[in-house]
Symmetry: C2
Subunit: 296 residues, 2 copies
Amino acid sequence: MRRCRVALVQLALPAPGEAAWAAVEAGLEAAAASGAELAVLPELHQGPYFCQVEDPGHFEHAEPVPGPGTRRLGALARRLDLVIVGSLFERRAPGVFHNTAVVIERDGRLAGRYRKMHVPDDPGYYEKFYFTPGDLGFRPVDCSLGRLGVLVCWDQWFPEAARLMALAGAELLVYPTAIGWDPRDSEAERQRQFEAWRLVQRGHAVANVLPLVAVNRTGTEPDPGGQSEGIRFWGASFACGPQGELLAELPTDAPGVTVVEIDLERSAQVRRLWPFFRDRRIDAYAGLLSRWLDEA
Amino acid sequence: MRRCRVALVQLALPAPGEAAWAAVEAGLEAAAASGAELAVLPELHQGPYFCQVEDPGHFEHAEPVPGPGTRRLGALARRLDLVIVGSLFERRAPGVFHNTAVVIERDGRLAGRYRKMHVPDDPGYYEKFYFTPGDLGFRPVDCSLGRLGVLVCWDQWFPEAARLMALAGAELLVYPTAIGWDPRDSEAERQRQFEAWRLVQRGHAVANVLPLVAVNRTGTEPDPGGQSEGIRFWGASFACGPQGELLAELPTDAPGVTVVEIDLERSAQVRRLWPFFRDRRIDAYAGLLSRWLDEA
């Protein structure tokens, strides 16, 4: 058994700058105090989710990776003896920005990064304005705890992303996330969206026989553009095992930290019973590389 | 709104031949009496699930498609004015047999077939002995009710199968199934397996924004080889909508028929909100055609 104690650090991040860093720091300290070895933060944890509007001014807050954000996370990782998965607004070049997850080693080193490959754009989530889709592919990051299949938010709807991480040897799927309800939607629609989000990710765990953690924001953030009622981030960060079984979950409406022990060797056991990787029909999957299989 | 009334015809099939056909006929009659337009039968509904052992004698019961099984289903389809999804042991040539799902039109015609692409082989499910993996690919079948993405049992664990059917325009995913518990497994393991089976399929519904029906056997079938305690098929046939939301389900331990109304146009609406098909990174999916992404 190779156990990894993973902290889900669910945060409300209504204010930028030092206020957000204080929340991150307090969350990581709570994680360490609970014995965590790996701590996962929500998507873009340096402040409010700024993609509710398209505002060129926000590019001012992007930063190089490595840079100030990774240095600060690195200092926390060293002090707290934690591997940290963080999420930053990466400035790569003038006009080239990414939504980038970073893995910070316990010694503060940048172990690796993942640039969000699937970038959303729908009302309230105008990410295509800010982020160039990633060009690093679906490559897991090796760290002292194992091989992490780090993906980001919108990626969670794409079975291809989880599968490619699994095929590259990921031992744990990790999703920093920022997703919530539009308060104008009906209660039934909100419930369907929320359940769909959990279902599709737990489905990835099952299909790839891998444990998975998803860490989300919580709290309501107003729409700076005044066009909507803002986003009520639904929290509900969770961890599941390689059969999709829930191992831990946080509430929808409050920040919180929980530590869950995940056995990174159980996947290998379960894959003996359910040998999906033996039977993939790679001779018949070429259509997956098409946008749509139009009729001849 | 384009509604399709789908019957889940969950059967216990402990005996072959006329006994099995009587159960099939009664199930389809109940479906028609409840107003169904489409009826889905469990996998290999012409008798017990014979793959618990490797017995060359079972090849005697295979049949051509079209053949006696499709004629009999055709007569039922005509009499009951139903589209039927059935599941047969297809004899294609000496030494070439398939696990084949058929779609029978209301007028009795064979609308199309699907040959199971992913063929399992694990204790109690020795299908690789009997069935050559399908060579027709993941092509939906058009019928008077719409375009059906018919897959079979083990396929349900593979996101690629559902995705390819969706890319080819399937409007409904349909899985005839034969899956159950090994009575020797612990209650906790049985529960995990059962939930994993539902999660992964509901996940396919979400990821592809498609409704889905899975129809399973129920009842215990002994192991003719006496090597195990047999299989307790877990029933629990279900239908879900394009956000994975449960629309209908049957019990684990009894045969039954339920009819569920599915709106085949809702997917198009939901895909406007969640435009996953817009954002697939087909430029970065080549690895899906590999068995494993070994390190360089």
